[in-house]
Symmetry: C2
Subunit: 215 residues, 2 copies
């Protein structure tokens, strides 16, 4: 069965799924979808047929297409449980999911390409206002994330001693924060976890600069 991940080098949602595939050692090919070129390749009829939301990523396995990065990762984790991306204990699983969702619901969607395009298009906001918007939601989300990590007593990873879905969400979000010059000094636990994850091959190989469509 052929496994294809539709991806864009700079998409943080796609990056999460690239890490999952590499951590689990699952053979796959990458199909780049350029989100800006030609008005956005995600809007092509071919791509819309497999992802009606017209966003990346999409995982295709044979004739099955799965969308939404966290749905893809939980699916991969259930079908290919080793190494696990969630702990075994229900409360620890809840901790992982609440951290992951803090980023995947409350930071990333508010800052993604289509939102910034709406702010600068229909709402006529400046690049400066769009950048301030972007940084505002990262700071608000990271303030809460750092407090949650402190309450958990996190070390090298968000929860426990192995990468979980929370780390898969955090590392791409930290990359975006740096790209938009967010001061990370108030977030020592976030910075430490990001630095540790970025020593692992699955995180290194999946980063934007290592992608076939990197610019």
């Amino acid at each position: 069965m052929e496994r294809t991940l539709y991806t864009y080098f700079r998409s943080s949602a796609a990056w999460r799924t690239r890490i999952a595939l590499l951590l689990k050692g699952l053979p796959h090919q990458l199909a780049p979808i350029h989100l800006l070129r030609n008005g956005g390749e995600q809007h092509s009829p071919e791509y819309k047929a497999i992802n009606p939301q017209e966003v990346v990523p999409t995982l295709q396995e044979g004739d099955i297409a799965i969308t939404q990065s966290l749905a893809i990762i939980e699916y991969l984790d259930e079908v290919h449980p080793s190494p696990p991306l969630l702990p075994a204990d229900p409360l620890a699983r809840a901790r992982v999911r609440e951290l992951a969702l803090t980023i995947a619901c409350d930071i990333h969607p508010v800052n993604n390409l289509k939102i910034l395009q709406y702010l600068k298009g229909p709402l006529g906001r400046s690049q400066q206002e769009a950048d301030d918007w972007y940084r505002h939601w990262i700071r608000q989300g990271f303030d809460a994330f750092e407090k949650k990590l402190a309450a958990l007593g996190s070390g090298d990873f968000c929860v426990g001693d192995h990468p979980t879905i929370a780390d898969l969400c955090l590392v791409p979000q930290v990359f975006n924060a740096r790209r938009f010059n967010v001061d990370l000094t108030p977030y020592p636990r976030i910075v430490r976890i990001d630095a540790h994850c970025m020593t692992l091959p699955a995180f290194i190989e999946s980063q934007p600069s290592r992608q076939p469509d990197a610019e």
Copy 2:
């Protein structure tokens, strides 16, 4: 062990968790947090201590507090598996999660109170522009959601013959769409599922107008 759900009658994220508790028949008390009164009770020191994101819902069980509605629901489903809110098959579970996340990531967070307050405050947008923004993201999300339902051949529920996390996300979002006068004519499957769910006691009793803090 005492179980308390911190909730606000009109919060759609809180409504999802109210449905889950009722479907599973789990004894609990509701602790209303008024999101507007006194500058927002979610910003009080007492509440911030259990939810550093300063949003509802939060589930408290004894001295454990869990945030993020989908993390709460998956936790309840793992600890109290009957009736299940996810199917058994991994692909069907992925279908439920991708539908749920289409709402929980790509519609709801973009439209929640703090975003609308930022649009009207720092960005100086009018009530009309904020309302247009709200309707735009519901329409874009529902367009994709309806196509996904069609591809699944959905009937009375989003996936299969029982309520799942996808339905728990959909019904509160439909309520919001109606509140903002979104034309639902293009979404017959969404309307049908919403109507069917709203015949079930857990959905009826958890709706905003039935809450102790309803206005």
